[in-house]
């Protein structure tokens, strides 16, 4: 039903691509992260809750959307979008033809997240899964515990009159953190301008977030003492950072599970908060689909495929241009570390 091509995953029966990384005629999009939603295609289709965000990301594109769970027929394939629990509007794409069912997961997680609909397990014959954190070292603590760590870190820094900068992805992670912080934030959370538009978009979709205040040009020094600031990784090591008084830095990502990774990037703190499934989450999900065949896309794909094969499933690794959490991190963090003149 789906083939790997140089432009992306192609469904011949429907004449469409799923998350193509090069321009095509018709693209079905699981979610609006850059490695899944690249520009230049003629027509896009996504799940309704994600349409507004996708339009922000691809302002010139022709974008149509359908609600979760509503099937449409494209070519000779019955297509429907189902919640993936990754970010607002993220979807698994279910394809059915002649009694055979495939599900392409995109990115997904099983941990609770108030900013998006929870992952919906779907029975299928072939499950195309991500593998961003497919190693047994990746098991997530509940977000309720992680947010307490963030709050404790913030309060300790506040006592010393310092500022806290929590780096996170502008789409999804930042808003999830804001939703988690809502019960704890007694003052507005300061946000970098790059987060403002998407955060507004989440609010417009009816998602409750902690109050925020955008950092403006004149805000610096004492005004920001004791603040918790959310910022994109790309702000790291730039002059923008100089406005923050004695900042303690942290990064919110599943990658922070490994001490050496956090230390290599020089963050004071790492909060293990991921929008991807952890190892038990991946295994449980694959089991729930009942799929005898599993295709593995990006991340620790070789490890997951081999593990599943040893458990008796038919598996195959698909080479894609998807990067999961690692891609964005590597480029942005390394670039900013270099600006700071670090050499190792």
């Amino acid at each position: 039903m789906i083939a790997e091509t140089p432009r992306g995953l192609f469904c011949e029966g429907g004449g469409f691509y799923i998350d193509p990384w090069q321009p095509v005629d018709r693209a079905l999009i699981t979610h609006a992260h850059a490695d899944h939603a690249s520009a230049g295609s003629r027509a896009y289709l996504c799940a309704t809750p994600g349409a507004q965000i996708l339009r922000r990301r691809l302002p010139d594109a022709t974008i149509a959307s359908i609600d979760y769970g509503v099937p449409v027929t494209i070519g000779n394939v019955r297509v429907s979008f189902h919640p993936a629990g990754h970010i607002l509007g993220s979807a698994q794409i279910r394809l059915e033809r002649g009694g055979e069912v495939w599900v392409v997961s995109g990115d997904y997680k099983r941990a609770p997240d108030a900013t998006c609909a929870p992952f919906e397990p779907l029975r299928c014959d072939v499950f195309v899964t991500e593998a961003t954190f497919a190693l047994p070292i990746y098991t997530w603590d509940p977000p309720s515990i992680v947010v307490r760590e963030i709050v404790d870190w913030w309060h300790a820094a506040r006592q010393e009159g310092r500022s806290c900068v929590l780096f996170c992805y502008v789409l999804g992670k930042a808003q999830r953190v804001l939703a988690l912080l809502q019960p704890f934030a007694d003052v507005p959370i300061r946000i970098h301008g790059a987060l403002a538009g998407l955060t507004d978009a989440y609010r417009e979709s009816g998602i409750a977030l902690a109050a925020t205040e955008r950092i403006t040009e004149d805000m610096r020094g004492p005004t920001l003492a004791g603040s918790l600031v959310l910022a994109p990784l790309s702000a790291r090591g730039t002059v923008w950072m100089r406005r923050l008084p004695r900042p303690s830095t942290a990064f919110a990502s599943g990658l922070m599970r490994v001490r050496g990774v956090r230390r290599q990037r020089g963050f004071d703190r790492g909060f293990v908060l991921s929008d991807h499934a952890d190892w038990p989450g991946l295994l449980a999900t694959i089991r729930e689909t009942g799929a005898p065949r599993v295709f593995v896309t990006h991340g620790w794909s070789d490890a997951l495929a081999r593990y599943l094969a040893e458990a008796g499933l038919e598996t195959q690794v698909m080479r894609t241009a998807f990067e999961g959490e690692a891609g964005e991190f590597g480029a942005a963090a390394a670039a900013s570390a270099d600006e700071a003149g670090e050499r190792s």
Partner: protein
């Protein structure tokens, strides 16, 4: 244990030196003295005698977590640290209730150390039951204590600074008291923290004073007459301690190496009692140093010592005097220490003086530096005549003016993940040079690139992996790097027949196609040249 694990977390959770020191100070002030003693022991890089093979820990953890071995090793590539890997994979395993907290000293003395000598099964049952009751941080710390690789991003000098602050005594005094052999205990902790100098252990060496690499033009150092110049020897830095009728030899890593060099020990018994000399142990024959590779045969090998002693004779080149007649003379000017050293070191065979190199100008000295390779040395040591013998690496008074390294342009052929801070990044590279149309591996290197270059290479390697053998990736032979190295020697252990010393990346030669990289013949020629 909880308090020590919390200290570990506090140190680990900040990149600020002051915050680390503050956490240590708070710990030293509040922990029971026996715990504090053990904390100093581990934080200064000391380790328990080997208790059990670390492979056993891995096997038990795999079984406990239900993870196949290949997946465990794949995970290691992402973590780069076995103690942490074990702590992480066991996170998913259900925990047994805790049986109350035991202080660090209790853990070490009544639980961990008694593991030695037990049957493997008993060891396993105990370790696994501890894993089940401890939380993630404590489990990680426990693994570190057992395996003895307790490096937590806190330098030894920070521990000394914190101790000095916590107790309010001079950091140099703490440094001196932490040298040499000591057993951690509450009594020991009170003795090192006492403001009264205790009777020193006779074997105790002094902290080594270290030189900094000279990157600027030597002219910037001013008048050459204010500098004492010696050849920079390429051996093992060592202190010979002659006290109480005995001799000890300490390496810079504060390891006792007395028994490895019996001829030096024997010669040192002719030194007057109450003498401490700093110098370099070299493989030395016919009045000149042999290559470092010869000395390596003397390191680590305990058996057949007599035979190797004949094949690889050594000498101790003395270059500084730290104690004379039982008196610490480190604060005297170098010129004065040197004068006293010349009085004491009169031998010319096994224990001998480091020769002074006299030059009128930096220019003539620079010319002489060109002879370094032929003389089997690494360049010059420049020491300010008026300088005291300090502690640690302090810039300004002692410089090493090394010769430029050898270089070769080689092609990146394999890559694998680094460890520690570089876990999950592909940073350990193997390089090849051309031999009959094939690339033959000649060197492994992992330092010299900027973080951005590392990230770029990591991404490129992941997309251009041709084959994988466990963690090792074979990549398209495209990228050429200029490698620098200090020495070259013939080797039967390497496929290329050549071993290079301290290889590192000097430059990414983006301008050079792989086909134009160097050949093995060129390296062979270099080898012939340096041997001749």
């Amino acid at each position: 244990m909880k308090q020590f694990a919390a200290l570990y977390d506090a140190i680990d959770r900040t990149t600020s030196t002051n915050a680390k020191v503050a956490a240590l100070v708070a710990y030293f002030r509040s922990a029971p003295p026996a715990d504090a003693a053990w904390a100093v022991f581990f934080l200064t890089g000391r380790r328990l005698k080997r208790l059990l093979p670390s492979a056993s820990l891995r096997e038990w953890a795999q079984a406990e977590a239900g993870v196949p071995e290949w997946l465990f090793m794949e995970s290691y590539a992402a973590v780069g640290d076995f103690a942490e890997l074990i702590a992480l994979v066991l996170d998913g395993v259900a925990r047994a209730p805790e049986d109350g907290d035991l202080p660090l000293a209790g853990w070490v003395e009544t639980r961990i150390m008694p593991l030695a000598g037990e049957d493997a099964e008993v060891q396993r049952d105990r370790v696994v039951s501890w894993w089940r009751t401890l939380d993630r941080s404590e489990r990680f710390v426990l693994n570190k204590l057992i395996t003895g690789e307790f490096r937590v991003g806190v330098a030894q000098t920070l521990v000394m600074r914190a101790l000095a602050q916590a107790i309010g005594i001079d950091q140099k005094m703490i440094a001196a008291r932490l040298m040499g052999d000591w057993a951690p205990s509450a009594e020991w902790f009170s003795s090192i923290t006492s403001s009264v100098p205790a009777a020193a252990e006779p074997s105790q060496p002094y902290p080594f004073f270290l030189a900094s690499p000279l990157e600027a033009d030597p002219e910037t150092l001013g008048d050459i007459r204010e500098w004492f110049v010696e050849w920079k020897w390429d051996g093992i830095r060592a202190q010979v301690v002659r006290r109480a009728g005995e001799c000890w030899i300490w390496s810079r890593g504060e390891e006792l190496i007395t028994h490895r060099f019996p001829e030096v020990t024997a010669a040192a018994t002719h030194l007057p009692d109450g003498t401490v000399v700093d110098g370099e142990i070299l493989a030395f024959a016919e009045g000149r140093p042999m290559p470092f590779s010869a000395l390596q045969q003397r390191i680590g090998r305990q058996r057949q010592l007599a035979q190797i002693m004949r094949a690889v004779p050594v000498a101790f080149i003395a270059y500084d005097l730290l104690e004379r007649g039982g008196t610490d003379v480190r604060s005297s000017p170098l010129t004065e220490r040197r004068r006293m050293l010349e009085e004491i070191i009169t031998g010319t065979s096994v224990v001998r003086l480091s020769e002074e190199v006299v030059s009128d100008t930096w220019t003539t000295l620079g010319r002489l530096r060109g002879e370094s390779r032929a003389r089997g040395v690494e360049g010059f040591m420049l020491k300010r005549c008026s300088s005291a013998y300090g502690v640690g690496r302090r810039r300004g008074d002692w410089w090493k003016w090394k010769i430029d390294p050898f270089t070769v342009d080689a092609v990146l052929i394999y890559a694998q993940p680094g460890s520690g801070k570089r876990a999950s990044l592909l940073t350990d590279y193997t390089f090849g040079v051309w031999d009959n149309g094939q690339l033959v591996p000649v060197a492994k290197a992992y330092s010299g690139l900027s973080n951005a270059e590392i990230a770029e290479m990591d991404r490129w390697i992941r997309r251009h992996t041709k084959e994988r053998h466990g963690p090792v990736r074979v990549v398209d032979p495209v990228h050429v790097f200029e490698l620098g190295f200090e020495a070259i020697a013939a080797s039967t252990r390497h496929k290329s027949g050549i071993a290079v010393r301290f290889p590192r990346m000097l430059r990414w030669r983006r301008d050079k196609p792989a086909g134009e990289a160097d050949t093995l013949d060129a390296l062979r020629e270099l080898l012939r040249h340096t041997q001749g």
